[in-house]
């Protein structure tokens, strides 16, 4: 009961924040809306029993990534967006094409994905740090290590590029 109420509240928050992200003219307001989306997604993960994923979502996306976004916006002092005149094509065909896309996505999800059971909150217990650690170091060891090396290369690249700027 409480789970359902919380789900409805945070699903609405996520969707409203998502719309707000696109509609806002002020870049920092968009960034904050994105944090709202991340935060409410974390709560939805928590409701499904994936507590480790929820916290990782908050630490990595809510904390690290979005702080960088906000800092960059603050440093560049990005002003309000100016809306350019819309092209005649977007004005005429925008809404029908959007509806087509949504319908197509809905059809593909129904057609391709296997039929799903209804979600039960709190019935799944595989979301603890222990379970995820087990999976990462047994079943998914190779992808995990490959991604680590990839990220290491990215960090090295960033350092090298920054070094060039400094010299």
């Amino acid at each position: 009961m409480v789970d359902t109420i919380l789900f409805i509240i945070f699903a609405i928050v996520a969707i409203v924040s998502g719309f707000n992200l696109v509609l806002q003219k002020q870049p920092i307001a968009s960034a904050l809306s994105l944090i709202g989306v991340m935060g409410s997604l974390a709560v939805l993960y928590l409701l499904l029993g994936a507590e480790f994923l929820a916290m990782a979502q908050m630490i990595v996306y809510g904390g690290a990534v979005m702080v960088l976004f906000v800092l960059v916006i603050m440093l560049l002092n990005a002003g309000r967006e100016k809306s350019s005149a819309k092209s005649w094509f977007a004005q005429i065909a925008g809404l029908p094409l959007l509806l087509c896309l949504v319908a197509l996505l809905g059809f593909l999800i129904r057609a391709i994905l296997p039929p799903m059971r209804s979600v039960e909150f709190g019935s799944w217990v595989g979301g603890t740090a222990e379970h995820i650690g087990q999976l990462l170091f047994t079943t998914y060891l190779l992808p995990f290590e490959v991604i680590s090396i990839l990220i290491l290369i990215a960090i090295l690249g960033a350092v090298v590029l920054a070094q060039k700027e400094l010299d």
Partner: protein
């Protein structure tokens, strides 16, 4: 239904005690700093300035609430709200003691036991940057913006060693829940050395604890790392444009962060509520300390430094005597003794905060960053690797 009633009682209790602590922490800080600098500190409002926090709250509430015309109104008003909410939220998962039984109901001395507790604390601390960053940006003032940028960069940089060092006690305890971490530190080696993380085999976390404390000073923007509000460079840093209650929010969030991070340090490294001495002796330490305080008060009353001390000190002495008697009642001891040890450790760490503030000068900003990235970060990494190695081998 029972769960709701017990939870509400716990929330009210914790909130009341936490708020009082925040108010009086500021009085303690002013007093200790004053005595370090050979002054007396607040003395006028109430005996020994004890009513000073109330007077301060009243002053802040009744000051004019100024809204500068050039600020970005929405974010300007949102920032202190974010700061204070995120600072107060972490206390909800801090355990203060073991499971207790009051009138037939068993409950934890903790608002809620989250099984990813330490990650929750990290998540809250990593998003609490927004309060400061938004305050600085929306104020539309170069000093505020500089303060906010410094603060964000500093908090992000020091979060790395902090997180790396937090992992070490987790390796020793094999848990993420704060209650389980604290429980894994119960017991003694050879009957007298407590199994706290800083003494725990196979790899004692003494260096880890020191790194944690240094990073914690920087995380809470306290001296010697209070660059974000360095008053001789930046007026007041990110809260330059704030007044009255909105300023009080930032002020409160700073102290709340201090209390939370000392609580976390106590739970991770100093064994939480587990006493320094084995059980039969440790039950009487609180009584002994309070009795000593009472005797000191009476002694001061016999030889008063000021005239009114002759009347005020005996009152405090009697208060301490009553507290000592409370801690000596065996049926209360199961509840009160863990609280005493937890509070004593937190109070010691908070005193260290103030002590350091009164002793060390402020870093330069480049020194601060250099220290974090070239000294603290490698040290924390080395500490983590050694701990992992020892835990794996033994």
């Amino acid at each position: 239904m029972n769960f709701f009633i017990v939870s509400i009682i716990k929330i009210v209790l914790v909130f009341a005690i936490f708020m009082t602590t925040l108010a009086y922490l500021q009085w303690v800080e002013r007093k200790v700093l004053a005595h370090i600098q050979s002054r007396t500190g607040p003395l006028r409002v109430g005996p020994h300035g004890l009513m000073q926090p109330l007077a301060d709250v009243f002053k802040l509430l009744t000051k004019e609430d100024l809204l500068p015309p050039y600020v970005n109104k929405f974010f300007y008003l949102l920032a202190p709200f974010i700061a204070v909410c995120l600072a107060l939220i972490s206390i909800s998962i801090i355990p203060f003691g073991p499971e207790i039984e009051v009138g037939g109901t068993r409950t934890y001395m903790q608002i809620s036991d989250v099984n990813v507790g330490i990650l929750f604390i990290l998540a809250i601390s990593s998003i609490s940057v927004y309060g400061v960053a938004l305050a600085g940006w929306s104020s539309n003032n170069k000093y505020s913006l500089m303060g906010a940028l410094r603060s964000s960069a500093q908090m992000i940089s020091y979060e790395l060693p902090l997180t790396l060092v937090i992992v070490c006690p987790l390796l020793l305890a094999n848990h993420l829940s704060l209650r389980a971490i604290s429980d894994s530190q119960a017991g003694y080696y050879l009957g007298f050395i407590p199994r706290w993380s800083i003494f725990q085999m196979p790899f004692p976390q003494i260096f880890g604890f020191l790194i944690f404390m240094v990073a914690a000073f920087a995380e809470t923007n306290r001296l010697p790392f209070d660059l974000p509000e360095a008053e001789n460079e930046l007026v007041a840093g990110f809260h330059t444009e704030y007044s009255s209650m909105k300023f009080a929010c930032f002020f409160m969030s700073e102290y709340a962060n201090m209390v939370t991070i000392t609580c976390v340090a106590t739970l991770l490294f100093l064994g939480g509520w587990h006493p320094l001495f084995p059980a039969p002796y440790s039950n009487w330490v609180a009584t002994a300390v309070l009795l000593f305080a009472a005797i000191a008060c009476f002694f001061q009353a016999i030889r008063p430094a000021r005239k009114r001390d002759r009347y005020t000190f005996p009152v405090f002495g009697i208060g301490f005597l009553i507290l000592a008697a409370l801690w000596a009642v065996p049926s209360f001891q199961t509840i009160l003794v863990p609280i005493f040890w937890f509070a004593a450790k937190v109070a010691f760490l908070l005193f260290t905060y103030i002590w350091v503030r009164g002793t060390l000068p402020r870093f330069r900003y480049d020194q601060l960053m250099h220290f974090a990235w070239t000294f603290l970060f490698p040290c924390a990494l080395l500490n983590l690797l050694l701990t992992a190695l020892f835990v794996a081998v033994f």
